[in-house]
Symmetry: C2
Subunit: 395 residues, 2 copies
């Protein structure tokens, strides 16, 4: 779906010119990397180090892993060491390594709809079976529904907070309740349920919201992190896997993660980026810039009559389609040269996703088109929230 919009976008841009097309289809951060990143890059580029670009250990440079462990220790109070960290090729690489390490064929992995479009692929890459559980109407995890979805075969649950596509940040209560559920089910089954927390947006939060720590809440947690959004360098493929110090069979799991990093062909996270992020553990892009874009967009869409929950983090807005057929409404927006992604692509029909990591002018100039599009459907406007579809992976 995203790719289709991307291709539609290329055609439209050729026809009408770049600045006349309002492309909200891709989550490609448009806030530039922090100056500190550039300084560090130039410093490292210039350093005379023998074999500076040689293989690193499969898990990454010890000093990089230590820097990550220290940061997590500071924020969580846990005693993390370099041995609990494996540097990865972004969160996408991290999740593939984690799932390859965890899954036996036929193992079930629960994901919450709406979901990041790549999860089903990642799970099926390792012969896992995807189980879709809808979130509640406010996009928070539905603890009871997750409980009902857990079977003997459930190996892991993936959560993503701040969330793509909804911008939802899971509350401390949600995380605590999830942890309690997993502990209970783990005891019953005498096998742990792994909580895989995909957290590339953990630093992209608004209005002083805090992202509750999954590591602190639950010992069978594994974090997949990426610097892609925090430092605006998604093309450089640098992130990490962090494992709770008291996770079930910790030594075997770490060995598996390191082996899988090797045999999936990642071998090691890019060496130069490892060196750089070692010194940028507390640096982030200016999040206020995204917050301003969110506010501009939310004000405009609310005034036009759209319904949505104001995102607390990430850079996505998940908007209720004024008509149940989200694809049809997305098509209507296309006539305004506005590119968004139908909710069906995220397993959640009746909605569409706006990635607002774009220029302020793109948002400002698109608002008129958004307003015109919803006007067409005013007479039929549904006053009660549309029921979201329960699940189903979209082709």
């Amino acid at each position: 779906m995203i790719r289709k919009m991307f291709e539609e976008g290329i055609t439209l841009k050729k026809k009408h010119g770049e600045d006349k097309v309002y492309d909200f289809s891709l989550g490609n951060p448009n806030v530039d990397h922090p100056e500190a990143f550039k300084r560090e890059l130039i410093k490292v580029a210039d350093q005379e180090i023998k074999l500076k670009h040689g293989y690193t250990p499969n898990a990454g440079y010890p000093e990089t892993r230590l820097a990550v462990a220290r940061k997590i220790s500071q924020t969580t109070g846990l005693k993390m060491t370099a041995d609990h960290i494996v540097m990865s090729c972004g969160a996408g690489g991290a999740l593939n390594v984690i799932l390859k390490a965890l899954l036996d064929p036929g193992d079930e992995v629960i994901i919450l709809t709406p979901f990041f479009v790549e999860y089903p692929f990642y799970i099926e890459n390792y012969d896992g079976v995807v189980k879709y559980v809808p979130t509640r109407p406010d996009f928070s995890p539905d603890i009871a529904a997750i409980g009902r979805a857990i079977t003997r075969k459930t190996k892991a649950v993936i959560i993503n907070s701040p969330n793509n596509p909804t911008g939802k940040v899971y509350s401390q209560k949600s995380i605590t309740d999830l942890a309690r559920l997993f502990r209970k089910k783990g005891r019953e089954r005498k096998r742990p349920i792994y909580l895989v927390a995909d957290e590339p947006y953990s630093e992209i939060v608004f209005d002083g919201v805090k992202v509750p720590s999954t590591l602190k809440a639950y010992s069978n947690s594994i974090i997949a992190y990426s610097y892609s959004k925090t430092l605006s360098l998604p093309g450089e493929r640098i992130g990490y896997i962090a494992v709770h110090p008291r996770i079930h069979e910790a030594d075997d799991l770490m060995a598996a993660l390191i082996l899988c990093t090797r045999i999936l062909g990642f071998v090691n996270a890019p060496a130069l980026m490892q060196r750089i992020v070692t010194h940028l553990q507390h640096v982030t892009v200016d999040v206020k810039i995204y917050q301003k874009k969110r506010d501009l967009l939310c004000r405009g869409l609310a005034a036009a009559g759209y319904e949505f929950a104001k995102p607390q983090g990430a850079f996505y807005l998940f908007v209720k389609s004024p008509i149940p057929d989200d694809a049809a409404f997305v098509h209507r927006l296309l006539q305004e040269n506005i590119l968004v992604v139908p909710g069906s692509g995220f397993g959640c029909p009746g909605y569409f996703r706006i990635a607002f990591c774009v220029e302020d002018s793109t948002i400002a100039n698109a608002l008129e088109g958004f307003a015109r599009a919803i006007q067409d459907f005013r007479p039929q406007k549904i006053s009660r929230p549309a029921r979201r579809g329960s699940s189903g992976r979209n082709p």
Copy 2:
């Protein structure tokens, strides 16, 4: 096996000091990257480009792919375009993407023993079945044996020339004969056999040897290339996949390679390295440095009485063990603080591998130990070549 030697090495180095241990276990290039690479890195680091580190297309930057296509066109005479290239995270990433794109569960992939230790993992990652075919005594492909190993289920054959662990460069006749065999078998089965050529060492060749082009010889060829050895930057994970313009179902295959780059979590090859290699298509490390190391090592080992074929490329020497039990002989070398890898690890017992991408002094200082070790077994020295084991993946 390699990892075990690596760990033995750490223990030995702690005990005796770094300079008293002769570590030939890892293929980590020790010739520094070319000055042109550093210049290009500093230039790119300093450039002001909006979102310089953003996502690239999954296949890579169009200009990088074009630069690669031009280079291959020049050397082969084929009409390659950017559309035949997918940038990858090194050759390891390239091979995983290729195998994921090609294989259905149960498909067979032929590899030639001795083989690069990661191939069986890569194939089994995608539920492929590994078929081992021994090379001839001079380590060239045994065309008749490969022909006999091809079944209805054979999807691909992986070759690696210049070869790890033998340093063998396959002759033009070998490549031509392989191509003829695959064309014949392809016609008989009415389905193509893909030739996957793993070519990270194609620029590391000695004595003016030329590496024959697989692309020129056979249209169902796919190249997995890495800049790791050519530019001495294995830690940066940059390489490419090149597909013959007339390969079977070219469009579908390219789409599959791009999709697999995405869903395996690579997403795109590291952006900064893509920018750099665009301008370094004709740059290589000083290969003469490796040639000198090879000559120093070969002279010393020949004088001590070892038997081996002088490598024509790469930076490995595959030496016949003076006793059939290669692990026992490797253990004897350990007593001399010499670390090498038993041939069993490459599916070829009775041999051991020396990675000579080390300091000249390491080679010079180790020769005495090599000489002492073989002396122990002189009385029992076997005068005829030991039969190499036929196959069998080593645990």
